[in-house]
Amino acid sequence: MIEFKLPSLGADMDEGKLLEWKVSPGDTVKKGQVVAIVDTSKAAVDVEIWCDGVVQELLVQPGETVPVGTVLATLTAPGEAAGAAPVRPEAMPRRPITPAARKRAKELGVDLDAVAATGPGGAVTIEDVERASDIVSPPEAPPQGKAAEMRKAIAAAMSRSKREIPHYYLSEPVPMRCASAWLAKANEGRPITTRLLMAALQLKAVARALKRFPEMNGFFRDGAFQPAAAAHIGVAISLRQGGLIAPAIHDVGDKSLEQLMRDLTDLVKRARAGSLRSSEMSDPTITVTNLGEQGVAAVYGVIYPPQVALVGFGRISERPWAENGVVTVMPVVTASLAADHRVSDGHRGALFLAELRDLMQQPESL
């Protein structure tokens, strides 16, 4: 028997609303298949199953909002006999709350119904209560609606980031003459539908630089850094109705620029249409943000926990540039790094940015 639980789709998610099941009992599912659509505070997400199996029972109905970790469905593993479905208590099962959490909630005056559970078996733990007492108890009803919810989610994640992560910031002007010329040439012969954007080059360069600086790529969890094997780069995408989302492009280092461009186009489209996949939400190992389009010279970002770094790009603009003893005019972009000082030091961060700058000078190698 396999329990399919509601996954956490980011540090700021503690519950989700099931919108739709894409499978029915008896269906055979393959790892990676989209089996449900779940509404988080940020987007409707296509949730993928992480193993092969046969759907046995759907335990949560569309419309229900449940905490992360709730068993959504049971499956039998391939080859496992579909035994009698376990006896389930009638609707509304009693919510597990540990005795210590109950005691603590009373001390802090926290309403247990409003606490999201993360403990074993979906139980509310002391930590859950203490977290809730930190962030909730608004005196009056907050404005409702999607935008307000997303604002709240961003607030929680960014507050946690600034509370827990000792950020350090570095920046470096990157000459863009080579990259711009290379890009113009590469796009010259291409039909408009396959043209590349500078963003694709930047993403690829970041992924390549990460290979030499693995301490910028991964998660800080439970007091230790867990480096990631591949660069799944979260791309910060602002939404037209307000708010922000940073879903991942997987394995950026292994993809061609053309593939990256296709993925990026598709990701932006789906992010704005609100149809992202769960792995895109939970997998980013680093985030890249580009605010140059909005006209700023540089961006110093806030790391999205549990990630440990964020790379920012500003506007590409022409600046006076001293080169071989002569001042020339050079298109330049300021690349910046916000990194977690628990994991890396400024020295390594500086080397990372220098590597990124150098990679941008060899666009043909990307």
Partner: protein, 81 residues
Amino acid sequence: MEEQELRAVVVATLKSIAPEVDESDLRPDRPLRNQVDLDSMDWLNFLIGLHEKLKVEIPEADYARLVTLGDVLDYLKAKLK
């Protein structure tokens, strides 16, 4: 294609990318990307949309000429002749 018709196509394409756009607020003589929050991905998608609807080629080298809504309309008019 009549000028009015062309303008309708361009505005519709723009709205497919930026649904919040109010046509009456668009000034034809001001840089379009200042009036509408379009990043380079949006801009590319806008041009792809025009390319698909009007079957015109828009080389990257011409991007610099497409600043205002008026520029875009003039450019397309010339291409469609």
